[in-house]
């Protein structure tokens, strides 16, 4: 129970919350009830309908508005005297620099992506402000405390990498439904509706076929007088029929695998006549989004469609894109909240799955996979919020001996549903908080500076605005205030291979990389290494810390 001196400490504290979503709403409410009077909250998102099952400070009428601002208004209604400062902004914005973080006694994260968590971790280390981290998925959750010099930082322990699949599994040998989803979303959908200029492995197939590749490109181009229905059937037959036939010609691939079946529209929908597919009347309601399911009379997103039904929806969705959303074509990226896109991807994935003997899935399930949707409920967030406040108060009292990492379990361990664990000490090989150097083995004669920056500095090392130096020579930096000729020379450097830079990055050199905003600096020892021919470029990078552990990074773009 809060004692008098404890109440005083709480009243005088200045707290930063990062995130006003599932955890954020519960946390803001509990902080306010617990006596906190000066709370700042950063969130770049706006409110969506699917948030309302748990982000209880928001109402239907708030959809589209800033989460940070609406959360603040809602809490002020029952605690009008306290100060809540909302920021509708990205925590990675330059205004949230080390000086900004230094004004707080503790930082509380309620984020949903690793990228932002790493960024905040570094700022908290630089500002020397303790960080209480947290996360929830369904019934599981955890709260962890990170205090510089006393405990591990957030990056001391490796975090699980989001699953990615080898390209050949996606293009040639899928064995799980998720492989079909990735194919439908990142290849087929992208090819049909996305940026025409992007590289696309849709037509990669086993065996060298540069000539036929050229021919295949033409299939996707729709001539002006080409009937939409015909075009749709042509695409269908090409990706589900012809491409599979081609793949089957490589015996080696299928020696130990189940052979796929080519699928042609005439076999699945023999009575497929133009005009029979859809009722345009159904989808021209004002305000209702274009939907193949509505058009064809499919109501339940939990139903698993048959091959014939998936095929109907595939063709109808394709037709609707061209007919009703032609302006979007050429610019679209998959968005889980785009009903028609989800219908198309589900249908396409199902047909491909059928071809490969993989069980088909409902739209509801497919949407979750394609959209990387995190399942979430209010109760877990409420529990975690309570635990965060308890740790935050320990931090304010400097009660380090009692800091705990607490795990919220779905099934009890030794009778415990909430399990506290004493935090570990900092990892001496952590390149983030212990400032130990890294070792990079890379082909310095074939890797360009641009790749080095994208794949290593930004992706693996999580830096946003890097500055790269060799000794005292600046090789690259970002900034608005760079002089033209300086910026130009940096740009030229991007396309040079490492060994040919004005200050060559070769075996034996040590590169210093800094992110001024994160106030984070890192030294990397370089060693030239020639990769075996069978490895592709992105796999010929070996980055390890001082105890030999690989540094695995995350893509900088996160699926929201």
């Amino acid at each position: 129970m809060a004692s008098e001196p404890q109440l005083e400490i709480i009243k005088g504290a200045k707290v930063l919350m990062v995130g006003a979503g599932g955890i954020g709403c519960e946390l803001l409410k509990t902080l306010a009830l617990s006596g906190f009077q000066d709370i700042h909250i950063i969130d770049m998102d706006t409110i969506e309908v699917s948030n309302l099952n748990r982000q209880f400070l928001f109402r239907q009428c708030h959809v589209g508005q800033s989460k940070a601002k609406v959360a603040r208004d809602a809490v002020l209604r029952f605690r009008p005297q306290i100060n809540i400062t909302p920021y509708h902004a990205n925590v990675k914005d330059p205004e949230f620099n080390v000086d900004f973080f230094k004004q707080f006694n503790v930082v509380l994260n309620g984020l949903d992506n690793l990228d932002a968590r790493r960024h905040v971790n570094r700022l908290c280390l630089a500002a020397e402000v303790p960080l209480v981290e947290s996360g929830t998925t369904g019934f599981l959750g955890q709260v962890t405390v990170h205090a510089k010099g006393k405990t591990e930082c957030y990056e001391c322990q490796p975090k699980p990498i989001p699953k990615s699949y080898p390209i050949c599994t996606i293009t040639s040998t899928p064995s799980k439904f998720v492989h079909c989803i990735v194919w439908a979303k990142d290849l087929l959908f992208a090819k049909l509706f996305g940026d025409k200029n992007q590289e696309n492995d849709l037509n990669v197939h086993s065996g060298d076929a540069d000539n036929s590749s050229k021919q295949m490109e033409d299939v996707f181009i729709r001539s002006l007088d080409e009937n939409l229905e015909e075009y749709g059937r042509k695409i269908y037959d090409h990706v589900f029929g012809y491409n599979i036939e081609i793949a089957l010609t490589n015996e080696e691939t299928w020696r130990n695998r189940k052979r796929p079946t080519p699928i042609y529209i005439r076999d699945v929908l023999p009575e497929n006549l133009p005009g029979q597919n859809g009722n345009l009347e159904n989808c021209t309601n004002e305000g209702s989004p274009v939907s193949a399911m509505s058009s064809l009379g499919f109501k339940n997103s939990q139903d698993v469609w048959s091959l014939a039904e998936s095929s109907k929806i595939f063709l109808e969705a394709l037709r609707l894109f061209f007919e009703k959303r032609d302006k979007d074509i050429g610019n679209l990226t998959f968005d889980k909240d785009d009903q028609l896109a989800v219908e198309f991807v589900t249908a396409a994935a199902n047909i491909r799955a059928s071809s490969f003997g993989i069980p088909m899935h409902s739209l509801f399930e497919a949407k979750g996979i394609a959209g990387n949707i995190v399942h979430a409920v209010a109760t877990t967030n409420a529990i975690i919020a309570g635990l965060i406040v308890i740790e935050a108060i320990k931090v304010l009292k400097d009660d380090c001996k009692n800091y705990r990492m607490t795990y919220c379990l779905e099934h009890p361990t030794r009778k415990m549903l909430l399990m506290p664990v004493v935090p570990f000490e900092a990892n001496k090989s952590c390149y983030v908080c212990s400032e130990t150097p890294l070792l990079l083995e890379i082909n310095t004669h074939s890797s360009k500076l641009r790749d080095f920056i994208e794949k290593i500095v930004k992706s693996k090392l999580g830096m946003n605005c890097p500055l790269i130096m060799l000794g005292s020579t600046l090789i690259y930096e970002v900034g608005d205030d760079l002089e033209e000729d300086v910026a130009a020379s940096y740009n030229r450097n991007l396309d040079k291979v490492l060994a040919e830079l004005p200050a060559p990055i070769i075996s034996g050199t040590i590169v210093t990389i800094e992110d001024l905003q994160q106030e984070f600096s890192c030294n990397i020892s370089i060693k030239h290494r020639q990769a075996p021919d069978c490895l592709d470029a992105s796999e010929s990078i070996w980055l390890t810390n001082s105890s030999g552990r690989f540094i695995d990074g995350f893509p900088t773009e996160t699926n929201r």
Binding site: M1, N53, R54, F78, I373, V377, V389, M416, L418
Partner: protein, 342 residues
């Protein structure tokens, strides 16, 4: 709210998308047909109400005729802070108004009166009853009434005293399907009544049952003897409470040290105040439990849950005949294939 046959409406599917991905559409449908009664609107039970309304139950009925107090304003985020807004209205009325806003698809209403005065038939309306802040005798009486109904009425009692709290669960005979990898097994859990649980001899309980269990039983008994309402005690009662603690331990052949003085003191000092982080934790656990019981999905806890800020643990204690006999008091598992007609 109207139900379109058996299917979830488009509105429900959109709103409940993220939680349907946790417990499935069937469970969501069952929740939308469930009716809950909450008596005693404390900081903790109000957290529970928020959770259960967001989850999308059919209806929530609130019972609490008391007026707003300082303590209520402290821990209850559903009450408007100005006297001009809350004056003249009961806690139930105020909370009802706020809760309706959280989910327009849930029917939230108020019933006036004292919980103890309602007869058994009243409880037929509900699938689950949650009581907070009532005396042991009332808890016992309501629990017994619930157990006498022909349809199962789940019973929960929740208490937050300062920085710790307790949840009691009685699902009578609860059968549910437990999914483990590819196999599904039908499990049956048998819950004792509140009285049966409390009467379990202390000596026979598994070793290392949390001290909170015993401490709360002492305070409960003290309140009973002195005819005081929960939360009306204070540190000035400490010496009397310690005397009772000693007597009870002797009667139960348990060492007095089993119930630390410091713990009893902490509980008394709390009075009727609730620590908001603990309200959130208890309200969250209780919410999960009620959802599991109503949907028939997931292992419900049996039969007590404790949280104490001092050690940060959230612990389940099985205080029942099964725990005294079996090693771990686990659910009786019956493989679906082997069930025969009785």
């Amino acid at each position: 709210m109207e139900m379109d046959g058996e299917e979830l409406t488009a509105q429900e599917t959109a709103l409940y998308d993220r939680q349907i991905r946790v417990w499935g559409a069937d469970a969501q449908r069952r929740l939308s047909k469930s009716h809950i009664l909450v008596s005693g609107l404390s900081g903790t039970s109000v957290e529970f109400c928020k959770n259960i309304v967001l989850a999308g139950v059919g209806s929530l009925t609130l019972m609490d005729d008391r007026s707003v107090t300082e303590d209520a304003l402290q821990a209850n985020f559903l009450i408007p802070p100005l006297e001009s807004e809350y004056g003249g209205r009961s806690l139930a009325e105020l909370c009802c108004e706020s809760l309706k806003d959280f989910n327009p698809m849930v029917r939230v209403s108020v019933v006036k009166g004292d919980l103890a005065q309602f007869d058994g038939e009243f409880f037929d309306k509900f699938d689950a009853v949650v009581v907070s802040g009532c005396t042991y005798n009332t808890k016992k009486a309501v629990n017994e009434k619930c157990r006498k109904r022909s349809k199962r009425v789940a019973f929960y009692a929740v208490e937050c005293r300062g920085s710790c709290g307790e949840i009691f669960v009685d699902l009578q005979n609860h059968s549910y399907v437990q999914k483990k990898s590819n196999a599904a097994a039908e499990c049956i859990l048998n819950y004792p009544s509140l009285e049966e649980a409390i009467m379990m001899p202390w000596k026979g309980l598994p070793r290392k049952v949390t001290k909170l269990y015993f401490a709360l039983r002492v305070i409960e008994k003290f309140e009973l003897f002195k005819e005081r309402n929960p939360g009306e005690l204070s540190v000035s009662d400490l010496s009397d409470v310690l005397k009772l603690s000693k007597e009870l331990c002797e009667a139960q052949s348990l060492s007095e040290s089993h119930i630390p003085v410091a713990l009893l003191e902490r509980l008394l000092a709390a009075g009727s105040r609730e620590y908001p982080p603990v309200c959130a934790i208890l309200g969250g656990i209780l919410g999960q439990e009620v959802i599991k019981a109503l949907s028939g999905k997931g292992d419900p806890l049996k039969n007590f849950f404790y949280f104490d800020t001092a050690d940060g643990k959230g612990v389940i204690e099985d205080i029942s005949n099964q725990s005294a006999n079996s090693a771990d008091g686990k659910a009786v598992r019956v493989d679906v294939a082997n069930i025969s007609e009785c």
